[in-house]
Subunit: 113 residues, 2 copies
Amino acid sequence: MVKLVIRIDLGPEDHIGPGKIELLERVAELGSISAAGRSMGMSYRRAWDLIDQINRKFEKPVVAAHTGGKAGGGTKLTKFGEDLVRNYRAIAEKALRSSKANMDAINRSLRKG
Amino acid sequence: MVKLVIRIDLGPEDHIGPGKIELLERVAELGSISAAGRSMGMSYRRAWDLIDQINRKFEKPVVAAHTGGKAGGGTKLTKFGEDLVRNYRAIAEKALRSSKANMDAINRSLRKG
């Protein structure tokens, strides 16, 4: 089964794809970079590096510390981080919808088994 | 300036992206795998490997030998190869069109300089 993947190149060496976007979504959901990374099988260091790669390319950061609450603080997405995820998901969803006939044609040509 | 890149995953290790599609287009244009590869700064071996990666995933090959003519033969795209390029380009073009507002928003957030 073929699968459409959307990548946004930010420069010659930097891009945003499904991996970084999923990581941001898990930070939003789990409230912590280490928990988000762990849920995707990566170290805190690796998860932070990926988020830092995004931060360095934009004027505003995608994550911020938040303090207090039952969990005693953690990390959340900024407004910009939420916008970035939303823009990526909108691009991917529209591309998936408009490519259906072409993707089906490619899929039918795949070698079986 | 951000740039949208479309990748089609054919399996866990195989995908088609702008590089392989450009290579196929250059084979169509130049009538030779070695000339196509050379025009993109890659060896014949590398160009053939990329084409072979595609061929192994589909029921029909994307290139075929053609004999005769002034140049004394060479390589051309098969009907399936042409269809594959056409489907990829159609997907990329529609994605580019439908993503414009979202890509503009991401672009405006990029760090300057």
